[in-house]
Amino acid sequence: MLIFILRRMAQSLLVLLVVGLVAFAMFRFVGDPIDNMLGQERTMEDIERLRDQLGLNEPFVVQYWNFLTNAVQGNFGISYRQGRPVAEIIAERLPATLELAAVSGAMAVIFGIGLGVFTAIRRNGFAAHAIMTISLIGVSLPTFLIGILLIYLFSVTLGWLPSFGRGEVVDLGGWTTGFLTSSGLKALILPSITLGLYQLTLIMRLVRAEMLEVLRQDYIRFARARGLKDRAINFRHALKNTLVPVITITGLQIGSIIAFAIITETVFQWPGVGLLFINAVQFVDIPVMAAYLMMISVMFVTINLIVDLLYFTIDPRLRADRGGSN
């Protein structure tokens, strides 16, 4: 087990380095930050001086090396756009994104599994059909449109929920939370639905398909023949056996909820790292883009590792195999 984790971590490090290299190779194509940093009255001399100071005249490999050597020492540089340390800015913005991701992820898992099981058991019922049809909206409508529709319905027409921002937040020693105020909780509703809807429908459809598959198996029939209660059959035997693929997908999706909250954060002006990133791309704020991409790849790698470890706890066969080979 320890060897497995260590090997995985070595692989992760390699992935990180490659991601960084690709990122720095790409930055040149995003544009040039100089015109954003100097006003329109800039002289050619100002431009050259700033390019030199920022190291933009260096080959990208050298720029990457400089970034890495500083990053290892915990220095991610100064944002070109805000003139403040990147690490500080990201730390400020991360709680917003993580809280949003947590709420929409929890929503997607709870409702996804619940509705998936329901539609599998009552697969011919009217409600199940209705849910399946509505879920098509979740997978087919773009996030942007869902967000705007929700805003027009719940903010503009009904006036129930805020259309932008996080509401009032409470600062808990560096971590700002919206969970403790009513305006903060209200502000979470629309963005988390927008962000989690796709994942919700995905999990629901996956659970349903897996359940239908499992419910046809012999051991379920025998269980029924033994006279076990429906509840025990459905949840203890059937659901548990559907969970391995569901966990894989959920794990990967949680990664994308955090990494790709960009659109939802832009629509709702949610002050998280996604919005920070999109601003950085528009401004060509290289230090912020680099730090963000590194952070996201660390996160994906970690989530994959956790998912792998979870398999061991859910599927006893994996444990047995490993034990046997040792």
Partner: protein
């Protein structure tokens, strides 16, 4: 007993009503946030707009664009020396920390803004020395008579010398050096509002400064400002429609009707200080963006005139801009010194004449050309370019449109890598000299820096340079007119339109639209 408590309750109620009448909060949203609180670090619209609430320059422009005394009460060239401007300062002004504002602060601030890391330094190029002549008089020594010096000072903010030195933030924000300065995240001005809190890109709160010198001179109805950038246009409009904000800038043209027709909301419109136009590389012998080998069709003035005649500005105004633009014939907004109605009306659509001009120039068969266009900088920029593609096709010019984000588009102009491009230009000094300096003078290290056309006329360059020190205003204006005549005759650029600004607000908010797109809340009324 009962009576007393009723009375007490009534008094409490009255005082509450009185309080709410005095305390008016305005919730304000626009697309972008200010980049920094340091007033000399960025020369950029949203940054200056926020600074204008907290800091003040010597002179400001009111909503009509006219000068208004701010920290200076009057100013004039010195009677003894034509190279010196004398500014008399307002007395009794205090910074938010109580420090008195004096000539020392002006000298300090101007020198700070002239330092290497300042983005404001180019506007102060002509200043050789600033000196205090008494506590409330400052003299600006220029490198020759400068008739329009004051126009360069309207976004030049005054800082408190003591505060800046105490907090070790004399050096202007220095992004590249990896330093974070105190003034980036803190502010200490003389302005009508003081900083309460700020989270960049999220929320900035300002409250009225009790000791403001202009308390009885301006409405100052707004006592608290909550500024939240909302990037997405649809969300910004939704926030106004749902009453979550009171005032927004940058209303998208397709939503104007919607906002204007909503009860309790108003849209106000005014021409912006920005002209949209196309530039053409006419200086090169051969260009890369066309399909003609060994020659440059854009070098022929007949081709440039033909292209100018092919652009149907009225159609762009009606279809692309939904009425929200003013067709332009010259690259200067109407309030700029040197603008004339005749020249601004000179661009007329005439396809037949255009075709015969193309024939005459030897390009009757037409040619193809790449157009570089931004897609996130000006209002409907990409759509304007698309419309232009269709219009130029009518005279045989096949245009391949290459639209990109601004971060990729502007370097093309800076580095001379485009032969046909869109650009927008504002004139912060309200004088044509500014336009000539950047767009008409031949490209050099520090002048003509945005002139990517290759147009370079030594005689004209000399005339442009002489404008800076010509104190005979009539002669100077005659020169300006002559330079414009040449620009128009040579068709150096293809002007498209003057951009129009839209501010959306609740009916309670009273203000005119400022052509600089910089609301100054001390002028706002609330009811």
């Amino acid at each position: 007993m009962k009576l007393t408590s009723t009375l007490l309750a009534a008094t409490a109620l009255t005082s509450m009503v009185a309080m709410s009448a005095n305390a008016e909060t305005i919730r304000w949203a626009r697309a972008g946030d200010s980049l920094t609180l340091d007033p000399h670090a960025q020369n950029e619209g949203p940054t200056h707009t926020l600074s204008h609430q907290i800091y003040e320059p010597l002179i400001i422009r009111d909503t009509s664009g006219a000068f208004q005394a701010a920290l200076a009460t009057d100013w004039a060239p010195s009677a003894d020396d034509p190279n010196v401007w004398v500014f008399n300062l307002r007395e009794g002004v205090t910074f938010h920390n109580g420090n008195a504002f004096t000539a020392e602060d002006v000298v300090f601030s101007i020198n700070r803004a002239k330092s290497d890391d300042s983005n404001m330094k180019e506007l102060l190029n002509s200043i050789v020395e600033v000196r205090a002549a008494g506590d409330y008089t400052v003299e600006f020594v220029t490198n020759g008579p400068n008739p329009i010096l004051s126009a360069n000072l309207t976004n030049l903010f005054m800082m408190d010398k003591d505060w800046t030195e105490e907090n070790d933030t004399v050096k202007v924000q220095d992004t590249d050096g990896g330093e974070v300065t105190f003034a980036t995240t803190n502010a200490m001005g003389t302005g009508p509002y003081q900083l309460v809190s700020r989270e960049p890109d999220v929320r900035t709160v300002l409250s009225a400064y009790d000791g403001y010198w202009g308390k009885d001179m301006f409405p100052l109805d707004v006592t608290e400002i909550i500024y939240t950038p909302i990037q997405n246009a649809a969300t910004r409009v939704a926030a106004l429609l749902s009453g979550e904000v009171d005032f927004i800038q940058d209303v998208p043209v397709q939503d104007l009707e919607r906002v204007a027709s909503t009860d309790g909301l108003t849209v106000k419109t005014a021409p912006q200080n920005r002209v949209i136009f196309f530039g053409m590389n006419q200086g090169a012998d051969d260009i890369e963006a066309d399909n003609i080998e060994g020659a440059n069709p854009l070098a022929d003035v007949r081709v440039r005139r033909a292209m100018n005649m092919a652009i149907n500005r009225d159609a762009i105004q009606q279809v692309v801009m939904r009425g929200q633009s003013q067709p332009a014939g010259m690259i200067a907004p109407p309030f700029v010194n040197g603008w004339t109605a005749e020249m601004d009306a000179e661009s007329m659509t005439d396809i037949e004449t255009a075709k015969s001009l193309m024939e005459e120039a030897g390009y009757g068969e037409g040619f193809s050309l790449r157009l570089d266009c931004p897609n996130d900088r000006y209002i409907n920029d990409e759509a304007i370019c698309q419309a232009t593609v269709g219009m130029l096709a009518q005279i045989g010019v096949t245009v391949n449109l290459d639209a990109k984000p601004k971060a990729q588009h502007f370097p093309l102009i800076t580095n001379g890598q485009t032969d046909f491009y869109m650009l927008g230009w504002g004139v912060p000094t309200y004088d044509s000299e500014y336009v000539f300096n950047f767009l008409v003078h031949g490209r050099e290290e520090s002048i003509g820096t945005w002139n990517n056309t290759g147009y370079d006329n030594d005689a004209l360059d000399a005339m442009i340079v002489s404008l800076a020190s010509n104190t005979d205003l009539d002669a100077r204006n005659a020169d300006i007119a002559a330079i414009w005549r040449e620009v128009q005759d040579q068709q150096i650029y293809l002007p498209v339109h003057h951009q129009v600004l839209n501010w959306g607000m609740s009916d309670a908010v009273g203000t005119e639209v400022s052509p600089e797109d910089d609301p100054k809340f001390k002028f706002f009324t609330m009811n």
